[in-house]
Amino acid sequence: MSEHAPLIACHDCDLLQREIPLNPGCAATCPRCGAVLYRNATDSVNRTLAYSVGAALVFLIANWFPIFGIEAQGTLKGITLLDAVRSLWDQEMQLVSTVVFITAIVIPALEILSLVYLLLPLQLGMLPSGYNQLLRLMRLAEPWGMVEVFMLGILVSLVKLTGNFRVVPGVALWSFAVLTLLIAAAAASFSTRDVWCCVDRITGRKVAP
């Protein structure tokens, strides 16, 4: 227990405490309320970057190809996520359509892009410009990315449709499944604490309250 270890305040109960070194893969929790304070994610920057680049590629495939196709009047037609958003818009459901567009397309894209933009330069030992604003933006956007919920939505719709139609799963169905896993992996290995340590190392700033 070092006297000079950085201070940390629990984000859930504001208990002030000193950081302790952690073994890889371990997490520090608040002794009073049990919140996870920080984790020692192994090789955080490097791994998150890898997952994010992967997620970016899969994201393009998931949005370009149809999620599922349905046989109607002898022809097989597929729908993409954007098709679904557009037809909801045409049904005078602009509000709902916008919410879906933002939570299922815009925010996940923004999250993936900002991770790559932020971590690639850091990995190379450089500071991306505007990293302050970007990290703040990412914090605001974080609760609104809902790819995993959308994935469950796809499964429920498939079950509802198979009763009445012949449904053919599309490329994007599998892509969304993979995207869900990649985003979860990126979120699990990402650590803002490590990013700020990296930033402090590059700027040579001494951090002490």
Partner: protein, 216 residues
């Protein structure tokens, strides 16, 4: 961890909500910025209780049309049906998709309701400066934050099914007015839980022990 004597705020310290850096503020009543990332520093979320109530009450009001109005209209040559959220669940259950019926019931009915009730309990307990079970209440808040997003499920299902129109099939699915109300409930309750500050649960404990609580 090695806990020190009290809350950061009571010691004149502020934790940055963006980069977690703890820094000292010279004048607690003046606006302060984080020395590392430049974010505004606040001891507690500004206007937490008031805005949380506002979002919550709006959520309660819209919860009624969300459950009473039509969520989805399904029409084909042989059948036509209008479903509310609940009748949709019942239909799924009757046609044998028990698992999916349970998932939709939990995500669309149980979670929004429990979320509204939990946040109400938390807000009232915070306003009464209750010292009852702070750890359990914090855990309840974390759960509300964790599961809240899953209510979006029905909105996504309606979106995907509504795209059937585009396929030129004889069957059509239309989203009903409940979709707007329900989407609003999900978004409003998410805003409410983001606005709630769990640290307020712990503040009354300091006062009881005689610590001086920092002015907000």
């Amino acid at each position: 961890m090695s806990p020190l004597s009290g809350s950061a705020a009571s010691l004149g310290l502020r934790a940055c909500h963006v980069c977690n850096l703890v820094s000292r503020v010279s004048h607690p009543r003046q606006a302060a910025h984080c020395p590392r990332c430049g974010a505004h520093l606040h001891a507690r979320k500004v206007g937490s209780v008031t805005s949380c109530w506002a979002f919550l009450i709006a959520g309660y009001i819209l919860y009624i049309p969300a459950n009473l109005l039509t969520m989805m209209e399904t029409g084909s040559l042989i059948s036509y049906r209008k479903d509310t959220i609940m009748s949709g669940v019942v239909h799924l259950w009757k046609t044998g998709s028990w698992g999916i019926a349970a998932v939709v019931f939990i995500a669309s009915i149980l979670i929004p309701l429990l979320k509204l009730i939990s946040l109400t309990v938390l807000l009232i307990s915070v306003q009464r400066r209750s010292t009852w079970q702070p750890r359990q209440r914090t855990r309840l808040y974390r759960m509300v934050e964790l599961v809240g997003r899953w209510s979006m499920l029905d909105i996504y299902v309606v979106t995907l099914l509504a795209a059937l129109v585009q396929l030129g099939s004889l069957a059509t699915v239309k989203a009903g007015p409940a979709a707007v109300a329900f989407g609003a409930v999900v978004v409003l309750t998410m805003f409410a839980s983001l606005k709630f500050d769990p640290r307020l649960i712990w503040d009354p404990l300091y006062k009881e022990r005689g610590h001086e609580r920092d002015a907000q």
